[in-house]
């Protein structure tokens, strides 16, 4: 992903809108006794589309805004979300997303990891009351919900950032010096050959 000023502003809008939606809509919903959390999904999506640095910076910023908006302990969400975003980005940089299931499974795994990380930090900071085993259910169900919610969220983020995505289909179809020869060799060569040799289309 090529991050220009315009794309940066789009990403910032996505992050702010997601946080407002999370704390005033998704946090009120309950599925199997658990609240869905879409913030890790947005961070993972941005990491998958933009790479490790974009994922980490967006994760840190979303965590900071979330903790500030809810007057929670600053830094906890930032630390957890920056790790999720960075890991998603590193996966994108190191491996090809060849299957459409990969973003969903990755979102599920990283959301579970983020929820577990959040719990671990809270326990390290000290919890004054007993902790119910239902916390484990919460972590597990949040991971499952993440897989389901990622189905619409990932394409939506991809659509919102399509001008910046280098390997996007629409971008590929444009005849740019980067992709013209590589992605559509036969058709381009055929046309050029025909034009060069003056042979008309059969």
């Amino acid at each position: 992903m090529i991050v220009t000023w315009r794309i940066g502003i789009r990403i910032a809008v996505i992050v702010v809108v997601t946080i407002v939606l999370q704390i005033s809509f998704f946090s009120y919903l309950s599925f199997f006794g658990t609240t869905p959390n879409v913030i890790p999904l947005i961070v993972v999506s941005l990491g998958l589309l933009g790479g490790g640095m974009v994922g980490a910076v967006c994760g840190f910023a979303s965590g900071l805004l979330l903790d500030s908006a809810l007057l929670q302990t600053l830094g906890v969400s930032s630390l957890v979300l920056l790790s999720a975003g960075y890991l998603a980005g590193r996966y994108r940089e190191g491996a090809e997303i060849s299957n459409s299931l990969i973003p969903l499974l990755l979102a599920g795994a990283l959301t579970t990891g983020a929820a577990a990380g959040f719990a671990a930090i809270q326990l390290m900071l000290g919890v004054r009351t007993p902790v119910s085993l239902l916390v484990l259910r919460e972590i597990f169900v949040q991971g499952l919900l993440a897989v389901v919610l990622m189905i619409p969220i990932y394409p939506l983020i991809r659509w919102a950032l399509r001008p910046a995505i280098v390997d996007d289909v629409a971008f590929r179809s444009a005849r740019t010096p980067i992709t013209a020869g590589a992605s559509r060799p036969r058709r381009v060569r055929g046309r050029r050959m025909r034009r060069a040799t003056g042979v008309s289309r059969p």
């Binding site: 946080i19 407002v20 939606l21 999370q22 704390i23 005033s24 809509f25 998704f26 946090s27 009120y28 919903l29 309950s30 599925f31 609240t35 869905p36 959390n37 913030i39 490790g52 640095m53 980490a56 910076v57 840190f60 965590g63 900071l64 805004l65 903790d67 500030s68 908006a69 809810l70 007057l71 929670q72 302990t73 600053l74 830094g75 906890v76 930032s78 630390l79 920056l82 960075y86 929820a115 959040f118 719990a119 930090i121 809270q122 900071l125 919890v127 004054r128 009351t129 007993p130 902790v131 119910s132 085993l133 239902l134 916390v135 919460e138």
Partner: protein
Amino acid sequence: MYRKQVRRRRAILVLLIIAALVLLSTQFSEREGGPLHSMQRVVASVFGPMEEGATRALKPARDLVNWFDETFKARGTNSDLTAEVQQLRNELAKTQAAEGENQQLRKLLGLDKQGTLAGYTPVTARVIARSPTVWYSTVTIDKGSGDGVKMNDPVVTGDGLAGRITDVTHGTAEVTLITDDRSAVSARVLPNGPEGVAEPEVGDPSDLLLDFIDKSQPIHKGQILVTAGWSNGVISSAFPPGIPIGQVSETTAGQQQSYQRVHVTPFADIRGLDFVQVATGGPKRPGVPG
């Protein structure tokens, strides 16, 4: 060139991690009015109107989604409830006889809702934001210091105690609910049961614990828990006495133990809060900053 890029990326990543850790440790040790808390309040004030607008606009959608979830749950609990109705019919006969006596006792104890919060000015507020994790059982309301809301003001719903105010900006306030791990409410079991401290169990918003209650004092399922309003003249509970908290759902005690653990189901629907009432301007309670 490539190496330089890698080094820069690593530096940014390390910087972000350090920044998060510094924020965490600084805020943890910082006093209430410190710079990080002030910055947080500014951000919360900026987000406040956005949260309020989004909460109002998205309420129908939220209700629709929750309706599906509740319908799903209702089907599952239907058979359980049928059996319970049978049992409750038998209990009703006994309860009706005790009702008259109970009414008198409630009045004597000041449990009547109007009487409990006498001297306070109730401010009705809308819940505009809530935390997505079980580790912070807090909500943000659309009333703040501009409406007379102060730190430690009790917050109630139509059903019972919800929590208390733990942070205030001009237009919003943070309510720490009774299910948050930072919450502890001095409570009394009615009609003449023992007093103790009702604490939550993190991760289970439908359960409060009244621990270390002497086993010799019998407590039964269905008994009501109210705020004790404890005070020794120097320090006191933030809550006035007599606000209903919940109903005893179970008591457990090991054979070797001399105390029992009382599980209480809160009256207030902590996960479904839409409107709450903040009891403002009440009598000064000694030792409670406000």
